[in-house]
Amino acid sequence: MIELSGVHIVSGSFALTDVAFSVPRGAYAVLMGRTGSGKTTILEAICGLKRVVAGDIRFAGENVTQLKAAERGIGFVPQDGALFRSMTVREHLEFALEIRRWDKPRRHERVAELAAMVGVEHLLDRGVVGLSGGETQRVALGRALSFRPAILCLDEPLSALDDESRQEMIELLKRIQRDTGVTALHVTHNRSEAERLADVWLRLVDGKVVDVSSDAVSSDAR
């Protein structure tokens, strides 16, 4: 589903060369690596937020390297949520649908569905200032999934959560992925998250992505 080949990304003084990996359809891939190793940069490149100097990014065989972020159809859950302070929870869930000019009844239906899915029904008409960390991530997740993307990119979505919320979120992510069949790419540096979620386990070491799914469980590969 997601295929990177020979991807070359420059970000300031930092560059990744010849990044290549693939995530099969419907898989939950976790990309691990040290802080500053460029995990987020790769995610941004996939989302279309960072220009790729060379190489191809393909979604289901289609080359999307030159497509705009808006055209790639990826749900993006950034670190800390990056919610819009001027909007209510409902407006977050509706935002992408409104941009896509869905009509009102369809939008309402979808919002109700999403709210139930991520568990924010009781928050719908609240503003987002003052939401807890878990609630924030649920809203961000709902927003990213609202327009039924085929791919979901998550950038350390659980890093700022307390243990209890983290457990809840992991369950939620698993369930959603199972229910929707979305192909997920989850960036984290937390090992236990990876162990709980990963179908495909990727590691970013010295600028190269390595698939360690086969030996992940046994080895303690760094």
């Binding site: 941004e44 989302c47 279309g48 937020l49 705009k68 972020a69 808006a70 790639r72 990826i74 749900g75 993006f76 950034p78 990056a82 919610l83 819009f84 302070r85 001027s86 909007m87 209510t88 935002f95 992408a96 941009i99 896509r100 008409d125 609240r126 503003g127 987002v128 200032v129 003052g130 927003r143 990213a144 609202s146 327009f147």
Partner: protein, 295 residues
Amino acid sequence: MASNDSPAPRHRVGSDRWFYGCLILLGGSYIVLILLTLLADGVYVLMEIFLHGQWPAVRNVLVSEEIWYATKLSILSSTITTVLALWVAVPIGYLLSRFKFPGRALLDAILDIPIVLPPLVIGVSLLILFKTGGVISNAIAEKTGIELSMPIDFPYAIPGVILAQFLVAAAFAVRALRLAFDEIPFRKEEVALTLGCTRGQAFWRVVLPEARGGLLAAATLTWARSLGEFGPILVFAGATPMRTEVLPTSVFLQFSVGDLVGAVTISLGMVLIAVVVLVVVRVFGHRDLAGRALR
């Protein structure tokens, strides 16, 4: 454990009272100075009225058609200036906040010019600009027969008042808005992009609403700046009563004819207007923002 026989002697610290005392003293002296000047204005007028029988002088100001016109002109011209300034300052502020491009430092420096130039110089320069413009358009008219004429009069006219205010106030609006945009993480715009927005949609639907507070601050700053603008207006737009006289000009005119009571009365009026407007804006702005957060 290491070989420490006795526990380290307790680290003693002095009282924090000094710190708080200094904070209050240094900061407070400025606040007190501001309040004292206002208080002095008020006391002076009251004393002149009740002890020196100067009520007629105060009344003259209050019933003066010129002063009421100046008040109206001040408020309306500042409002127009604010709207115009925001239209210019939003794009420049956003540009400076989001993009790195060659000449950015130069642009930044140019935007400082209206802030650092003496107000009088701005007025004189505007006057010269229009003089030169007139000379050039006359020359063009002579050579080619094409009459290039300004559809509206600027020097010594109301549009001149607004232009003079705009030139200075817009620079302040840019500064304020740039800070406001700086505070909004770019990540939010990126998220909006992944959700299907164009850059324009992301700006209008995410950035601008989120910059409300900054816009409001920029607007009040611009408005207050324009209300107090004096030097360039005096030079470029003149001080014609019932035409281009704004409140600061009125204060100056009253002062220059030795009518101190009148000058102070108008000054107090300006303080009142400024306070009312700022309070109204703050209250409404905050209520709106707070309301959204709690809904």
